[in-house]
Symmetry: C2
Subunit: 159 residues, 2 copies
């Protein structure tokens, strides 16, 4: 995790996405504060599918002094910037945040056991362009969720 490969204008997304997100904050007029940088690092580390409690925990381990309010404020900000996205797994009252590494995220949620299966290919690029034209919007990302039963639960309910 300590390999510094910044400066390469090609690839190595994982490392660079942190820098990319920082740049996004700056560009949007937000200050690059310690709390925000720590949040980005922690989120990258945890990798997504985490609750606010998870984030609160992880942030506290890195920097004891970062306040509860700032964590929630930053979660909201990063959501607005399309860096993360809250969603519901199961019927939990509290959302689960997923990363939108390249602006998008896709998964299947089993409505029986709440297992989450991620997948990559969505082929939505075309639709995205169509919508931009048709609706006059400017799209930066998306979340695609399928609901249904996973392999195990399909078998069970066939009883």
């Amino acid at each position: 995790m300590t390999e510094d490969c910044q400066g390469n204008d090609t690839m190595s997304h994982l490392e660079n996405s942190l820098e990319h997100h920082k740049a996004r904050l700056r560009k949007a007029g937000y200050k690059l504060t310690n709390a925000r940088i720590t949040m980005l690092e922690v989120l990258q580390d945890l990798g997504g599918h985490i609750t606010s409690a998870d984030v609160l925990d992880a942030v506290a381990k890195v920097d004891e002094t970062i306040g509860r309010a700032s964590v929630f404020r930053t979660l909201d900000l990063l959501t607005q910037l399309g860096i993360i996205r809250p969603t519901y797994i199961g019927t939990s009252q509290t959302p689960t945040y997923v990363m939108l590494p390249n602006g998008h995220h896709h998964h299947v949620i089993c409505t029986h056991c709440n297992r989450v299966i991620e997948f990559e290919d969505c082929g939505l690029g075309e639709l995205e362009k169509k919508l931009e034209t048709a609706l006059g919007v400017s799209i930066t990302g998306h979340l695609l969720e399928f609901y249904g039963l996973c392999q195990q639960c399909t078998g069970l309910s066939a009883t």
Copy 2:
């Protein structure tokens, strides 16, 4: 908002989906209680994009005696059955429920003004089948959300 031209062609479709949902409950082994039927009617009436508070309100107007807990229990149940789906608009702490009339729902959320623009065509049928084969799952519905700026906010941020 938007010209939402869904279901205009079949007024009876609205009636039927209520029956359809009741049948689903029965088939899944759940009792057709007064609270649940009232909830289904209220949800159909409100048409989606509503918070639990909206539902609580509307239910109370129809039947004073239905308890708070039952409303939340039923929201969870209907989510599990794929009849509704909680999602986040803006950074609200409390979810907004959308109806999944035919198992699916699609919208664009403006990350600046929180406007929601629904659209119908998603062309995900093929992907759905592919995933069922590839992952061994049995899919019953989906939610597709795009994030970005609406026409108005695209203009504004050009400042």
